[in-house]
């Protein structure tokens, strides 16, 4: 469903992604972890059509980016650490607005269903600015999945969430997995990264340095692996 081959992105002379290769199958949940500055957000912005790559191939559902961005946009939903919601609109108005941008049939019914799905029915007529961070993030999921995208992209979705809100988000994501969506998540939260997904990849200094099947590795073993791969890079950097 998502195919990334030798992806390069430079900001001026500064290389951020240096030949990323990643394949995500339909219905698979892949998490990308990495330290700050590894290029995770840049990669996510390219996959979500917000940024153009310098070179390399990115395909979603067989459609190459950025050439077929218009077509791909119908099939993707993006959840980021930013809510991408209008704080002065109510939850219902926010979703109605996005339903109109996606030309959804029965927008009112779909919005009501989506709000109920994320457990915000009682607060649907309240302005989003009165919501807690966890509630906002649940509404963000409702926004991102309102048009029933095949691919859900998650960019640090746990940022700023407390324990309970993180748990709720986990539950929502599990439901998305059960629904059969293809999910690509980037995070620097290793615990969440490993728990939910089928496969985890480590991105460091613009390259995928390791890929593991999440079901075949324990949390402690993965932590060791992660430290090994990122420490190795740090040491190299220090010597140069």
């Amino acid at each position: 469903m998502i195919e990334i081959k030798t992806l390069v992105k430079n900001y001026g002379l500064n290389p951020v992604l240096r030949g990323v290769n990643l394949h995500v199958q339909a219905g698979e949940f892949v998490t990308l972890v990495g330290p700050n500055g590894a290029g995770k957000s840049t990669l996510m912005r390219i996959v979500s059509t917000l940024l153009k790559p310098t070179s390399g191939l990115v395909e979603i559902g067989g459609w190459a980016l950025p050439r077929h961005s218009d077509r791909v946009r119908r099939y993707i939903g993006l959840v980021s650490h930013q809510t991408m919601l209008y704080a002065d609109l109510t939850a219902q108005e926010n979703l109605l607005f996005f339903a109109r941008l996606y030309q959804l049939d029965n927008a009112d019914a779909r919005v009501a269903r989506a709000i109920k799905y994320v457990g915000l029915a009682a607060r649907q007529r309240d302005p989003v600015r009165t919501f807690s961070r966890g509630m906002m993030q649940r509404l963000t999921i409702a926004r991102a999945t309102l048009h029933e995208p095949d691919v859900l992209l998650l960019d640090e979705p746990y940022t700023g969430l407390d324990q309970d809100a993180s748990q709720l988000l986990d539950d929502l994501l599990r439901r998305e997995v059960d629904y059969g969506r293809t999910i690509l998540m980037i995070t620097h939260d290793l615990a969440h990264g490993l728990n939910l997904c089928d496969r985890t990849a480590i991105l460091n200094r613009g390259k995928i340095v390791c890929e593991v099947n999440s079901h075949d590795i324990s949390s402690s073993a993965f932590l060791e692996l992660y430290a090994d791969h990122t420490r190795h890079q740090k040491k190299k950097k220090q010597t140069t």
């Binding site: 469903m1 195919e3 339909a26 912005r45 979500s48 059509t49 917000l50 940024l51 153009k52 395909e59 559902g61 067989g62 459609w63 218009d70 077509r71 946009r73 119908r74 099939y75 993707i76 993006l78 980021s80 930013q82 809510t83 991408m84 919601l85 209008y86 704080a87 002065d88 609109l89 108005e93 607005f97 996005f98 109109r100 941008l101 996606y102 030309q103 959804l104 302005p127 926004r143 048009h147 029933e148 095949d150």
Partner: protein
């Protein structure tokens, strides 16, 4: 992977005007809830006009002479507030990204923003015209003057949306916006102000009015076309 791999109930892209309508609806709804844009513009204009009125009170004739220029200056300054507020809304919580990943043409955003900011500015002008008639006793209420004001507003906002969309992404956006915008709209504001000034004399010279209004109209069309074409590149990262 083939196209068949995507689910059958996928949404289609809305028509250009449906998407424009959705964004304008959203902007008006936010304004209905907060009343921040219009009230900010009106308060700013009120303070400006009252201050000038007091400053020039010693010489009422002089005040009446500069009323036309003062009206345009107030529109320009208050207009930047409206432009800034309208586009800053999209930057809050990075909401613009949600619009940019929707299956709509980038130019939809341009057209929608021009419409909503023009609506706010025209509402402000209705209030301003009333204030200027009261304070300066000048015939700004004439339909021809209102028409010229509307034409000037469209061109100003059409240029303003492009410039604000660029400036809003910088740290010094509040300072950068008027510095970039005012020189660009000078070729619009000068003929528009001259045309309005003709009507303030009571006996407008129609050849002069026609030539200046033609310039305003030409500027409007040119800047609308340029903004429409350039906007996708402006909002690209």
């Amino acid at each position: 992977m083939s196209e068949q791999s995507v689910s059958p109930s996928l949404p289609g892209a809305p028509s250009f005007f449906t998407a424009v309508k959705a964004i304008v609806w959203k902007d008006l709804r936010i304004e209905q809830h907060t009343r921040q844009t219009l009230s900010l513009m009106v308060m700013y204009s009120l303070v400006t006009v009252v201050m000038f009125n007091f400053a020039l009170e010693a010489n009422l004739a002089a005040a009446r002479d500069v009323a036309n220029g003062l009206l345009w200056a107030t529109i320009l300054l208050a207009g930047t507030l409206g432009l800034h507020r309208s586009l800053a809304l999209e930057q809050d919580n990075q909401a613009i990204d949600a619009i940019l990943i929707a299956p709509i043409d980038r130019r939809v955003i341009y057209v929608a923003k021009v419409i909503s900011v023009t609506l706010f500015t025209l509402l402000l002008e209705i209030i301003l015209v009333f204030m200027f008639v009261v304070f300066f006793n000048k015939p700004f209420w004439q339909p021809a003057v209102l028409f010229i004001l509307a034409l000037g507003t469209i061109g100003y906002v059409a240029a303003g949306v492009v410039i604000t969309s660029m400036a809003i992404q910088t740290r010094s956006r509040e300072v950068l916006l008027p510095i970039l915008l005012f020189p660009i709209v000078l070729p619009l504001i000068l003929p528009a102000a001259i045309a309005v000034a003709e009507y303030m004399t009571g006996q407008p010279e129609m050849t002069r009015v026609t030539s200046t209004v033609s310039l305003v109209l030409a500027y409007d069309l040119l800047i609308l076309a340029a903004g429409f074409i350039a906007y996708p590149y402006v909002v690209e990262s």
